[in-house]
Symmetry: C2
């Protein structure tokens, strides 16, 4: 009796649910490649990479590797199944010590209810290949689902499962317009707690716009060959959140090329630059503080020069208040936690909303 | 040249710092047991456990194991060293998939500046025994430091390092009064991004009060023997955040014993009950939603019965709005992320501040 009483409530709940559902149906899986995949800069057949890196042999090796990560990608489908599961395989690379395995290698399920995307459950990874029931005991109304893929790993395979007897059919892209966000680890989503909490993903859900995640952890440094690829994306606007990784000197050397190359290929689209978030270790680490100050100073100077050079529809969001003032908005002094991302959105969303809304 | 350009900025910064400081002093370590340790319910000699579990052979095994975790403990010291490092060993247990290794097994350094505790850096774990420079390139003014220990592991040893030529001396407990917080994984700190972001730790820094973390992941279920221990703590107030783990029936059976036992040993201290946070998987999972509703309903009934029975200075904080309404405040549908914790504090802090301030 005593032993029973000390069972954690999750176990109790499990037993309760088992008792309620003596004949649980088995789960039938289908390959996610048969469903709508959103978030890729260029559509790729049967790949969860963000870019076909085979087309870019001149990219730096870390950039190529990072573009194989499924950051910002999501699978859209509909089902009435009361239970939604996934089987997926990622690489054997170790998770970052500043990330949850869920955000690094896991899945994040949203369901649209009354027009609003609401969190429904996660896929927890424990190994290279994983199987997890993300949501269960739901009603059996038809649900429009969006499943975010891992932010910091390559997805080798993904199967989505529903209760036998229920259908799963492909959804459509729920978002309009496309905004390419090129940037650093912050853009890629370090250190959100789960994939759907990366700030471009939150912007997509909240604004109904397709924000394409081109965050390149530690490597959002505006190399010409990468700038050429970014400029080649069919997008209605560009967000350049790529001033945290390059040195202040690189910012001076490279920003104009990136902006002008985008402008040459897209004569009228808005281009929105975002200064680097404050690196909170710089609260006490004096050279880090000075480096961020110089990065943002040089970013501002480039912005001014480009405006003077006649680049229209160019905007700059200042970095000063992106994480608030209490220094609590990061996981490790470098990467926003979900609180930091929430604060970033409170600055970024009102700044970009009128710009994005003005796109025809 | 090209290869150099693609070096991540952290490497560039490293090279820059090396160039600036050609003769970096070596680091001298001292045993953290020679420094002030705060956060233990009962002072323990040479142990980073929260409770001496050898004194409680009748506790359930998971409770005993969880009480060896260093959740809420912090080491206080002063130094003028521009660099602060740590060597520490934890267990080989795998980190949770809903936690960063930093919060699970890592360290979190704060420095008091102008009377305010400010984040300074983390200790990143990568193994059982770890060594990490948490802050560097600081000015050499004397700094009052507080180093939070891992929330979800046992610390086997801890040494704190400063630059040779600098002293490290023990600090004193920076907080007044003691508030024991008995609860679940949410209390213990799942899923904050780093140890200092657990909500009792944030309350301590923001209110200047010693909140003692007695969160027992999955096991905050009010067994009589645990209730007896909690009631034995010399505290100026008790927060009971223990209504997420027990079943609704257990809440009905056990709450009165816990509250009355505390009241018997502490005739006048405030006792503050907090209803369970909403479990966000219950947004679609109907039995989970119903279970949380019943947990909170029964908690409210117990609160009313205890008030009617004449228990004075007893308070209840409703659970409805602890995580906000957008369902984005958790890491995994069960445990708050830093955004969820921030929202919890926006409810809890104003509710408890007048109560705590009224303590003589």
């Amino acid at each position: 009796m005593k032993k029973l009483l000390i069972l954690p409530v999750s176990v109790c709940l499990g037993l309760f649910l088992q008792a309620q559902q003596p004949r649980m149906p088995f789960i039938v899986y289908i390959d996610a490649f048969s469903l709508k995949l959103i978030g890729q800069a260029f559509p790729l057949k049967n790949s969860f990479h963000r870019i076909d890196t085979a087309l870019h042999s001149n990219f730096p090796a870390p950039v190529k590797r990072l573009l194989t990560h499924s950051s910002g990608l999501a699978v859209c489908f509909k089902t009435s199944s009361p239970r939604i599961a996934a089987k997926w395989c990622v690489t054997s690379r170790k998770s970052g010590n500043n990330m949850t395995p869920i955000v690094n290698k896991g899945l994040d399920l949203y369901i649209r209810r009354n027009g609003v995307w609401e969190f429904a459950g996660v896929g927890r990874p424990d190994s290279v290949c994983n199987e997890f029931v993300m949501a269960q005991n739901m009603d059996n109304a038809e649900k429009e689902c969006m499943l975010y893929l891992p932010l910091y790993d390559e997805v080798k395979s993904l199967f989505i499962g529903v209760d036998s007897g229920y259908q799963i059919i492909s959804g459509k892209d729920p978002f309009t317009k496309r905004v390419a966000v090129y940037g650093s680890s912050v853009t890629q989503g370090a250190s959100a707690s789960r994939p759907g909490m990366a700030y471009p993903a939150r912007l997509s859900r909240e604004m109904g716009i397709n924000f394409i995640n081109l965050g390149l952890s530690g490597n959002g440094t505006m190399e010409q060959e990468v700038a050429d690829m970014v400029a080649g994306i069919q997008a209605d606007a560009f967000v350049l959140d790529c001033f945290a990784n390059p040195s202040p000197e690189q910012i001076t050397e490279r920003t104009a090329y990136l902006v002008k190359t985008i402008r040459a290929k897209h004569p009228h689209v808005p281009i929105i630059m975002i200064q680097s978030v404050f690196r909170e270790i710089g609260n006490f680490n004096l050279p880090v503080r000075e480096m961020v100050r110089r990065q943002n100073e040089n970013t501002f100077k480039e912005y001014q020069k480009l405006k003077l050079a006649g680049i229209k529809n160019l905007y700059l969001i200042p970095g000063d208040d992106l994480l608030g003032k209490d220094h609590e908005g990061t996981t490790d002094g470098l990467h926003p936690n979900d609180l930091g991302f929430d604060r970033m959105l409170k600055v970024i969303r009102p700044a970009i909303t009128p710009v994005i809304n003005s796109i025809p």
